[in-house]
Amino acid sequence: MRLALLRSAQPLQTNPMIGASYETLVKLGSLDANRIVNEGEAWRLATCWFLHGGVIHYLSNMFALLLYGIPLEQSHSHLTIAAVFIISCYGGSLFSALMLQSSVGASGGIFGLLSSTLVDVFWVNSDVLFDKTIVPGMRRSKVSEQG
């Protein structure tokens, strides 16, 4: 595994995040507006979520995903969070493709979770999220007591 990683890593001038080269990522399905529009490869809008530029990109994305995903899934249903994640991933891909960039990563979804955390805390519902004194599942009972 480590050997394969080292062998596939490119010089930093090609990929500053210790990862595969641009050509490899294109073969695996990275986002490229030209290929999507002119060659009909619309699946690139979805496959680029699962690719990452390199070790640094991957680790920081997964760290953020755990950080925001766990408390969100504990206070909302799994389906809700999945919908938010997929919609914002798709929106991020679309924005990136419209600006004619070539990119990889689930960054759109990560930012979707981040902004939905902000919305949850400052718009929808108080400071229940991240509050360690409240255990998961308490929220609904709290609401029903009020009603």
Binding site: L12, P16, S30, S88, G92, S96, G105, G112, S115, S116
Partner: protein, 180 residues
Amino acid sequence: MFVLFFSLCEIALFFILGLTPLVDNYAHLGGFLFGILAAITFFDDSVIDTEAFFARTRRSCISRYRKLISQTTGLFMLFSLIFLTYTLFYLGGDLKICQSCNFLTCVEFPPANIGSPFWYCDSCQTEAVGYFFQNPLNDYFDKLEIVCPSQEKFEFQLDPPLEEIDHLVVINMCRKNCLA
């Protein structure tokens, strides 16, 4: 407040990460906007319903209209997604929105006038095409033709000849000849 501070730190971190090639700050921006829309649509646990709407107790304007706002936002999100997809597929190739804004998503570091940068933001990496020609006598690649991003063509003799196709050669040749 802790959440806000932490999220701002995270946004700053990801903005810096987005300045490298292959990671795109526009994707971050799009994800952020659609995250807000999706959260307003889906996260409303129907705490506010008609009963609360007609309640005579003092409630803020926002909490009265929360359900209406969330449904409108959901509809807006749906339409904007469809519109963006339509724009991409029917205008995508010709559409050049703000080419000068690209400093937001890729910045060479350190800048070129200080030293050779760690990474490049030019179009050579993504758009240059190279054709290698093989010498029939010894099977080595000794000629290279490059098509620049501007569709100009250059031919080179490779010295020494290469055993295998090397895309780095194409990128470096493109940087030397196409961008001058």
